[in-house]
Symmetry: C2
């Protein structure tokens, strides 16, 4: 078999990207990856040159990659990590250690919040009451991060969601025809009242491309797996989309990009949301008297009894 040649420089290629009809050597893959991110940032006006951005960092390959790329593209990155206190598999300790070491190496600022230290309990204490622990965990991290981004006047909050995440959640939302989620499966959500602007700079790069980039850059993500992860449903969607992708390279990206062209029709049709007021405890935005975060974490006897009524939502 002939050796593959880089589409750009004709030297030996190490990777083939059928969706882009291209093969790359390491240097040109790196260039390709950075260009894809910077184009998306420009196209969706995610960041002004040199902007201060708060990046959600779990310690996984996706979030470390988005830190690395934004830093290389000249943005002022601050990391934000929440130690949720999962002891199994040494998951939370290892995640925090990996994150700290990554940020030290790059010399970038990092904010860590430890739930046990700050709130006297870890996330697993909710596991029995809320079988959907991922929802509690996501809600908690989003709340803390939004607070910190607003207080620190960051231009926005960035996450490491890639094309496979967005295409599979899009498919999930389509299968339910949930118009309010279909209106918001976007690479950018603008700042809105008490919510910081949110961006997903890896939105058009596949999980596989992110994996290749992270390995090429010598990024060492956390290897421990969250024992509570219940992504089975999303995995099915990802698997299905990847099967289709094999048959028609580029379909996954086309599915998501074509959605972006028509997403406006969902915004108009989406159900009107409840008006927000200020949470009596933290002052944050909530449709009820006390926000879900405070009901979960600032425990009172009566609040505990209300647990059953808490609606955890389902967003990214």
């Amino acid at each position: 078999m002939n050796k593959m040649k880089c589409t750009v420089c004709k030297r030996e290629a190490f990777v083939k990207l059928p969706a882009h009809n291209a093969k790359f050597c390491p240097d040109h893959f790196d260039q390709f990856f950075l260009r894809q991110v910077s184009r998306l940032i420009k196209k969706f006006r995610m960041l002004r040159p040199g902007a201060r951005v708060l990046v959600a960092v779990s310690g996984g390959k996706d979030s470390l990659t988005v830190v690395d790329v934004l830093h290389r593209l000249g943005y002022q990155v601050t990391g934000f990590h929440v130690n949720v206190g999962i002891k199994e598999n040494n998951f939370s300790e290892e995640s925090e250690a990996v994150t700290i070491s990554f940020f030290e190496k790059l010399g970038l600022p990092l904010k860590i919040i430890n739930l046990e230290k700050e709130y006297g309990r870890n996330i697993t204490t909710f596991a029995r009451r809320f079988p959907r622990l991922c929802a509690v965990c996501g809600l908690t991290k989003r709340h803390l991060m939004n607070d910190y981004a607003l207080a620190g006047r960051f231009s926005c909050v960035a996450t490491g969601h890639h094309l496979d995440d967005l295409a599979s959640s899009l498919l999930a939302n389509v299968l339910r025809w949930d118009l309010s989620y279909l209106a918001k499966n976007l690479p950018v959500l603008p700042a809105e009242g008490p919510f910081a602007k949110k961006i997903k700079p890896l939105a058009l790069l596949s999980e596989e491309e992110v994996r290749i980039y992270s390995e090429l850059r010598g990024i060492k993500p956390v290897t421990a797996v969250c024992p509570y992860s219940k992504e089975a449903k999303f995995k099915r969607y990802k698997f299905f989309l990847n099967e289709l992708e094999k048959q028609s390279p580029g379909m996954k990206r086309a599915f998501y990009e074509n959605y972006l062209k028509v997403a406006g029709i969902f915004e108009k049709a989406g159900t009107s949301e409840l008006p927000l007021r200020n949470c009596k405890i933290c002052g944050g935005p909530t449709p009820s008297e006390i926000c879900t975060f405070c009901r979960l974490w600032n425990r009172t006897q009566s609040a505990q009894e209300e647990d059953q009524e808490i609606n955890l939502g389902d967003g990214n």
Copy 2:
């Protein structure tokens, strides 16, 4: 293991329908099936009591089932069958024979059009020029049927599309975000100018439910398989939806029914279609001078040269 009991009469059940959280004996499955169809007919105002309806009949279980059910529900059914002239597997001859014998048994009128006799060539003569023979075949049958329905003043044209067909084509349309198809994946398309009203009375019944009904009723569909059938893509979608259905019984129907609730937003957003005029040869509706059907079947030397330009569309 205990014997299953019919949800209605508590006698022995022969079938379990997790999507409906029900088990049925043969009698009550039959009742269930008829009720599902008649409810859908009422809900979408498909047919007035006793209406004259032209049913597209291929000889497969789905089309024979829709004939059987509409006849039992008191509608005046006429069958419409096109012998497309596929010799392989004795496909077209067997399909026609099965259809004739079925209609004779029920004592119902049946119109048969034989392409070779009427147009001097069969559908397979297009196979080399048009790799998507299913598209040519579908377009041809729809054109002939529409003509016959209008000329005979039938209230509408009915087809045997079931939930699996509609949910999988809906998924295909969503993956492409084709708004004009998303606007029309409905159980009823009203009469519009030169197009007869189209109805799909089995739209909310799964393929499995149709199969059970047809066996229970002793319906013997054609067993030969069309050698040109290229439904691989749709099969993948059907397989995926059936996998999801196993995990969450009822999701397939919810996917389609929830779409029906929001389909209006696509109608408004759908691209405006080309204005129609009358085909110079057959007088039928077409955006160009001569309609695709006539360009395909009323062959002239020059028309043959234009074959490459013919856009076959992709509808049901």
